[in-house]
């Protein structure tokens, strides 16, 4: 009777880990560039279903940490256990296959492509048909494309970006570009979503929108999120647990309230003589 197709739900990646279970563990990781120590002996964990924030002053090693997690940098010491598997060296596309997706501090989209195509690109890792079929644009390849398009439309609906579906992303205001980038990361159906300063350069309204989307992604899809953010207000409101880095070292780890009242954190942010 119902002519309206029910929305296709994006699968929450079933990795066999219960909500609140250990999704990722960072153990004694150190990263050096020549003589510069970017990260020194850092350990923390991410539990499934939580929003985990990594904060710290400029140069604290936050983005380096994210790059280590998603395989862009290989740490000299320490290991990362993700979904029960220990690994040290890996390439970013392996990270994607494992279920880690990320957004970037500076938007990294295909500027000349439309919103729709950018998000479709996020699903390319899941397309299995051979180049031959994809070029033929027929039969199984077409069917596969349509299936992926349905999921992409669901993301477009979720992020409320229907009106820019066909707009080249280079023409969009910054806040919307960030949203498209989030959409592309979501298209990978990640079990861990890494957000590198999702609110950077946004005005208040855009920040509020983005916060709502981050919470919705977390609550409605059960996606685990690790985010780096400068805006302390946002971090404290959004996240369940916070890691604080300073000069590549971990100085605090706990709930937002605990972190806020930690003397080391206050010193690091307000600045004291070292």
């Amino acid at each position: 009777m119902n002519a309206r197709p029910e929305p296709v739900k994006l699968a929450i990646v079933d990795d066999g880990i219960p909500m609140g279970g250990l999704l990722m563990e960072v153990k004694n990781v150190s990263l050096r560039f020549g003589g510069v120590k970017a990260i020194t002996d850092i350990s923390f964990d991410v539990k499934k279903g939580e929003i985990r924030a990594i904060i710290g002053p400029n140069g604290a090693g936050k983005t380096s940490m994210l790059n280590v997690i998603n395989g862009f940098y290989t740490p000299q010491e320490g290991t990362i256990v993700f979904r029960g598997q220990e690994r040290r060296a890996m390439k970013p596309h392996h990270a994607v296959r494992q279920g880690i997706a990320r957004t970037f501090q500076n938007v990294a989209l295909f500027k000349g492509m439309s919103t729709l195509d950018n998000i479709m690109a996020g699903r390319s890792v899941m397309m299995h048909r051979s180049l031959f079929w994809q070029m033929l644009w027929h039969g199984p390849a077409l069917k596969e494309e349509i299936e992926h398009r349905e999921k992409v439309e669901e993301i477009i609906d979720f992020l409320e970006i229907q009106h820019i579906r066909r707009t080249p992303v280079g023409k969009l205001p910054y806040g919307l570009q960030k949203r498209v980038e989030l959409g592309r990361a979501l298209a990978m159906e990640p079990s861990l979503l890494l957000l590198d300063e999702p609110m950077a350069g946004m005005n208040l309204e855009e920040k509020e929108d983005m916060s709502r989307f981050i919470i919705d992604v977390n609550r409605q899809r059960g996606t685990t999120i690790a985010l780096i953010e400068h805006d302390m207000g946002v971090v404290m409101d959004l996240s369940d647990r916070v890691v604080v880095l300073d000069y590549g070292k971990k100085i605090a780890d706990g709930t937002p309230d605990a972190v806020k009242s930690n003397q080391d954190v206050i010193d690091a942010y307000l600045g004291v003589a070292h």
Binding site: M1, N2, A3, R4, P5, P7, V8, R149, E150, E153, E154, I156, D157, E160, Q162, H163, R165, R166, D216, R219, Q220
Partner: protein
């Protein structure tokens, strides 16, 4: 089609009856489309009937019954439109409410209407209603269309739209006679029931609940659907606010009686894109939307290449000369026809396609005055754009222009079966098929709005032009009379004056006086430019305003204004006899204008009382001191000797016309 409509008259007096009929006669034709998840999802009349039936039976099980009020809040969504018909099929009264109303206003409407159920679009509306739930004790259940964000809510008094429909489906499956009993209920329903209650937008005072009977609504919709020959082959884009009479009438009411297809846009931001994809045959938009379209076309043409620009300019020129004549079937020289045909291939058709207006058969605009150039631009492209004048109390149409008898400055003759009369004070009165049954719970106000013989007072002043088309001039309460008895419409005079670029603002006086007179504010930019070109030196606004040559120029503008007024038989009596150019600009900081830059007439009259006296006592100049506020907030006093000048008036053209038009 028209024949079947005519045959059906009398027996079909509610919209649910039309729903049953349409499901029979147009069962496989699309009734509703909605762009969702990037695709136009569609429902045929038969499917729409099934949707509405499931909803109605679910609502009935929830306790909705005859006479209950059910609020409908949200954007244009199929499910909200289905709620109208589902409620009506049970004899309940849908009350659409403006979705963007502030909580205070919405609380008032929901409480005043005494709604027991509210069908809303999403979390935003749920939050809003729950924020004042203590003030609407009658409300039992909120039903939501989109579940997003409502997971964590306390579910008491909150039900998903789909859950209601599932309940209805389950009841249908359990009881084989239920569907027939529901249909029987529809067939037995009385046309005297209230079909819908539309709240006025409340720009002047509290919103009022306008009750429209089923028979009235159906008859009115049938009249205009026949007038524009709407049929099941037509389609509309339903993008206007759901709670506005225009949306309910043009889409829902006309849709049900003619069987046309309603298309709901994906979101408010995608309307332009959706319009292109659907290419509706019937379209309504207020003048500012047409203005926006023209502006976007102009801007894009400025960025276009040389060849395209030349082609565009040339063929728009051709369209200007011949387009409207061709549209109205008037004689056009063969060369004009050939040029126009070529232009159609090269420019007009692609342009209409870009605007989403390719298939338009009938388009309307209303609500405010539309500029002649703007109006002609669209008509010259072959778009049959017309004007109508309407009111919530009339269930929309009071007047409507016929194909081929279209003008920018009038709103047309009376719509089918509508009687119009102009009262002695110049107010437009009407009696129409769709006329309201009264304001809900406001008998006093209803009585005030009706005349003794049952005409509705519109509150607008107007007159019939020489060819029987109605012209609306102003709100009736602003219209006064000279001592001679001649009508004095200040806004009309001021708008005519402001048509000249040199005049920025004008304030006309005359109510209870011997003649009309005016204050004029020059436009510093336009007049300043002119002064520069003519080597006229000035140090201040005040100096420029008082310059003899500026006075000469303004006098020519006033003269031209009087000439125009003299051609309007009703207006001719109130030509401007004397005027002055004010020594300071009217300013919102001084309280002379509202923050939306409308003149506060009474305040200005009080503040400049000595000048008004001077206008009427025959003096040629007057010394005044006026306090003014500078931009930094300091106050100062302007002293000036203002000159007062006589203007020439013209004899009225054919003064007997008003009786003739009536």
């Amino acid at each position: 089609m028209v024949a079947t409509v005519a045959a059906a008259r009398g027996t079909l007096d509610t919209f649910p009856k039309y729903l049953l009929l349409n499901a029979r006669r147009f069962g496989d034709r699309p009734a509703m489309r909605h762009k969702d998840y990037g695709i136009w999802q569609s429902w045929t009349w038969a499917e729409q009937l099934a949707q509405i039936r499931a909803l109605a039976l679910g609502l009935q099980a929830l306790g909705l019954s005859h006479g209950d009020k059910i609020a409908v809040v949200g954007a244009n969504r199929p499910r909200l439109y289905w709620t109208f018909a589902a409620a009506q099929s049970l004899g309940a009264v849908p009350v659409p409410v403006y979705a963007d109303a502030v909580a205070e206003e919405m609380a008032y409407v929901l409480n005043h209407a005494g709604v027991r159920f509210a069908v809303v679009q999403d979390q935003e509306q749920v939050d809003k209603i729950q924020s004042f739930s203590d003030r609407i004790p009658m409300l039992r259940e909120i039903i939501y269309d989109e579940p997003r964000g409502l997971d964590g809510y306390d579910q008491s008094g909150l039900t998903a739209f789909t859950a209601i429909q599932e309940r209805g489906e389950a009841l249908l499956a359990a009881d084989s006679g239920l569907a027939e009993r529901w249909k029987q209920g529809i067939r037995e329903a009385s046309g005297d029931d209230i079909s819908v209650m539309l709240y006025t937008s409340g720009t002047t005072g509290r919103s009022k609940g306008v009750m429209i009977t089923a028979t009235g609504a159906v008859n009115a919709a049938r009249d205009t659907a026949e007038f524009d020959r709407l049929s099941e082959k037509d389609s509309v884009l339903a993008y206007l606010p759901l709670a506005w009479v225009g949306d309910h009438y043009l889409n829902y009411a006309q849709g049900y009686v003619s069987g046309l297809c309603m298309n709901c846009p994906e979101s408010a931001e995608t309307v332009a894109q959706d319009l292109r994809e659907i290419g509706p045959t019937f379209y309504f938009a207020p003048p500012r939307i047409f203005e926006g379209l023209l502006t976007s076309v102009t801007i894009r043409m400025e960025d276009a290449g040389w060849l395209k620009r030349k082609l565009f300019d040339y063929f728009i020129g051709v369209a200007k000369r011949h387009g409207e004549a061709i549209l109205e079937g008037r004689p056009v020289p063969l060369s004009g026809r050939i040029s126009y045909a070529l232009g159609k291939i090269l420019i007009y058709a692609p342009l209409r396609n870009v605007l989403g207006l390719s298939n338009i058969r009938v388009a309307y605009t209303a609500g405010e005055a539309i500029g002649q150039d703007l109006f002609s631009f669209f008509r010259s492209l072959g778009i049959n754009l017309k004007q109508l004048y309407g009111q919530t109390e009339a269930f929309l149409y009071v007047t409507v222009q016929k194909d081929g008898e279209v003008r920018a400055d009038t709103v047309g003759p009376a719509a089918p079966h509508v009687d119009i009369r102009i009262s002695d004070s110049g107010e437009v009165l009407f009696r129409s098929p769709g006329m309201f049954a009264g304001y809900f719970k406001q008998e006093d106000t209803t009585a005030e709005t009706l005349t003794e013989d049952g005409y509705v007072k519109t509150g607008d002043a107007g007159f019939f032009d020489t060819d029987g088309q109605l012209k609306i001039i102003d709100r009736a309460k602003d219209v006064g009379k000279l001592t001679s008895g001649a009508l004095f419409a200040p806004k009309y005079i001021e708008n005519t004056l402001k048509f000249f670029p040199n005049i920025k603002e004008a304030v006309a006086f005359g109510h209870g006086r011997d003649f009309a007179a005016a204050f004029i504010n020059i436009d510093l930019q336009a007049v300043g430019n002119w002064a520069e070109r003519n080597n006229i030196a000035y140090a201040s606004y005040q100096e420029l305003a008082g310059h003899p040559r500026v006075y000469e120029m303004i006098a020519r503008n006033v003269d031209e204004t009087n000439l125009r007024l003299s051609k309007e038989p009703v207006m001719a009596g109130a030509q401007i006899k004397r005027f002055l150019v004010l020594h300071k600009e009217l300013d919102a900081d001084d309280g002379e204008l509202t923050r939306t830059l409308k003149v506060r007439r009474a305040f200005v009259a009080e503040r400049y009382a000595p000048l008004i006296e001077a206008l009427y006592d025959g003096s040629t100049e007057k010394y005044v001191e006026t306090e003014m506020t500078y931009e930094d907030g300091r106050k100062g006093v302007v002293r000036a000797t203002v000159k007062i000048v006589d203007a020439k008036t013209y004899p009225a053209a054919r003064p007997e016309i008003r009786e003739a038009a009536e």
